[in-house]
Subunit: 414 residues, 2 copies
């Protein structure tokens, strides 16, 4: 089964806004065994919209329209679909009454144009909107001699998601042949995509019935494994078998097999061990602390830390000896080590992390170029320090440095 | 002039990847007076790709294809365009030689399939790729009796941007009627969109020749003003006149009129005043420090700070008296104030910021609900404390709290 998703709205054709609803819909459709083969983004002009609808009906079986169901003049999805199908639009009295009632309950008068939201395409089923005023519509029709399913959904993500899950999914499930899909995500940090692929291609290519996708992003490799089988057990068993082989090959380089973030995994291991963590950051400027505290409940293991941009603060908050700063410079293995041990002692945590480097774009020299970062991890017995030269811009250097730190903590805790 | 952008690649039809190139291309095209009326995302299958190309040529004048120019079997943009146009593909010997040379220089042998990148559509001009191996192609053709421009560009953003700017823009400028566009962005923090619109609609609706777009995102309102006129001076004078009226109405609520971020503006004002800043963050966990240090050169005014998740650290790093924590609790106006004054004294900065609150989703109570945040700003003379109840999830509460802190510093420095 092939599907097309059409996002409607002139704002989605500007440089400032992007459709993200389609990612959710795609995930949902894939799980039903439906492939998305086109996504179209179209504005509010009726002829364009009608064209997009016609092409979509000609080339796919399931057409999902998102947006353009509101009360304003720009909301033309209903009319465009009706005109493409050559059917009429009728104002639904029940919907209209409900709209008036909604406004009356809030003791305001409904603006006249809002009545438009009670317009229903001939032959369509109404999909109630639990989170807003614009109802959706479901069409199960014959077009060009073939059966086609069409859904008109509201644009706001919360409304769209609720409506799709509650009204469209059950209908699709009852129509589509039953599919059993299994899905696993394995994650690795800091490895180059080429290395992962070279090691794993000989394994995953043997599993023709499991679709393997390698995604590289932000110092992380994700392996997505998908399989579709007559039964759920069969699908899961294939995916798990391949996941097992991959885990055997990559061993503890895989930090997550249940889609957790690296921060979550580090905090999980800390908590399991009853250990605590503190960080002293220079070039990452708080990014490591910020990443850790994104996780709700992080306060159970992460105590806090210091952002020590100046030499004085390195001494004040992490007890870095002034001589060390003078002798080796703020960006040095020695200072990274002193930051890690110092913050650990000061905060009285199990582990301490120190990061110092040159995030760029300015501040680099021949001896200490932009991208040079020292990351240290202290546990009270010994301190591990690594020197890295990250490429890319300021944002990338900072991100990779925190990723390196998190991965060091994780490996320490294994 | 109407345009369609086609992003090619099966990975763009998964739930994990999204086309972002089109935002850049849209901005560039708009500046030339070309409107993007469709965006299509299509996979690697040749019939689908050919369909997308044909529809785009039928409904628009300028068609931009991005991706699918590489050496692998999945790279089928060239073939699909050629078959839609009914022309042949020729292997260009000069391109081929250049490819072989590139590999020879790196002392590696070129894989056979790479030769595909030397394939040129009959009638196309070659667009050199300064950042990669896959050249682009430019077509100026007649299709269905109308003149059409087509560009085939590589998918990697760096390659695409360089090629579009260096090769496509000059060609488009020489063909398209000269347009003079002016564009301004005005930014405001923390205001509700409805309030901004209510105050400004009476002003901007009077300027029919300036297109005004209001975008609300992440505790920030952006007003985009566009105008297109026969001369650059005329366009700029209209945009500046409207911008002036808006600035009169909103006064110092507007923090930027040159597209700077709030962090940049705060650092700019600090530097102008020769002032320095330190922060003590509890619930924002380093996000404020991280936002400030995103800006290159921030070390000139931002000295650093502390992430004080535990009560002990609030005392250790920001000298918050233990009695205060006992009497009022960590989330209180008193502790926020103590954090701000304490970190300021400790770091010896001009200004100190303290943030304490409940980011959620857990940790809230009837008395101190999730979203309650105290933000304090100390300057040595007095300390300003505000109490806020932010709605939304952990990420949103943390973001709004830092936005509030930045706006407080900015207004202090006015």
């Amino acid at each position: 089964m092939l599907s097309e998703i059409i996002a409607v709205g002139s704002e989605l054709l500007t440089p400032y806004r992007q459709d993200t609803n389609s990612l959710f819909i795609t995930e949902q459709l894939n799980a039903l065994g439906v492939q998305v083969v086109f996504k179209t983004i179209v504005g509010d002009r009726r002829p364009h919209l009608a064209l997009a609808v016609r092409y979509a009906l000609e080339r796919t079986d399931i057409v999902i329209l998102m947006g353009g169901l509101g009360p304003t003049e720009d909301d033309r999805t209903r009319e465009s679909v009706a005109s493409t199908l050559g059917v009429r639009i009728q104002r639904d009295t029940e919907l209209l009454t409900a709209l008036y009632k909604r406004y009356a309950e809030r003791r305001t008068t409904m603006p006249d144009n809002n009545a438009k939201q009670a317009d229903v395409i001939e032959g369509a089923e109404i999909l109630p909107n639990a989170r807003g005023t614009a109802p959706g519509q479901w069409l199960d029709i014959v077009f060009g001699g073939h059966r086609k399913l069409m859904m008109l959904l509201p644009g706001p993500p919360a409304e769209l998601k609720t409506m799709f899950t509650s009204a469209c999914l059950p209908r699709l499930r009852s129509i589509l042949p039953e599919k059993h899909m299994a899905h696993r995500v394995l994650k690795m940090a800091l490895l180059p995509e080429s290395e992962v692929d070279a090691r794993l291609a000989p394994i995953y290519t043997r599993y023709k019935d499991v679709e393997t996708t390698i995604l590289a992003h932000a110092a992380e490799i994700q392996l997505h494994l998908h399989s579709s089988k007559p039964t759920q057990t069969a699908a899961e068993s294939r995916v798990n078998e391949l996941a097992g082989k991959i885990e055997e090959e990559m061993d503890d380089l895989i930090f997550s097999s249940q889609n957790e973030t690296l921060e979550q995994i580090v905090l999980y291991h800390l908590e399991m061990r009853g250990a605590t963590l503190a960080v002293a950051e220079s070039c990452t400027g708080g990014l490591l602390a910020e990443r850790l505290t994104r996780v709700s409940g992080s306060s159970r293991s992460f105590l806090g830390g210091a952002v020590v941009y100046t030499n004085e603060l390195k001494t004040e908050f992490a007890d870095v000896p002034e001589e060390l700063l003078e002798d080796y410079g703020a960006v040095s293995a020695q200072v990274a080590e002193a930051l890690a041990t110092g913050i650990r002692r000061k905060v009285q945590s199990t582990f301490g992390v120190g990061i110092t480097g040159i995030a760029g774009p300015s501040g680099g020299s021949a001896e200490k170029p932009v991208g040079l970062v020292y990351i240290a991890l202290a546990d009270g017995q010994q301190t591990e320090v690594v020197e890295k030269r990250f490429s890319g811009d300021r944002e990338r250097v900072r991100w990779w440095a925190t990723q390196q730190a998190l991965e060091m903590i994780r490996r320490k805790l294994l």
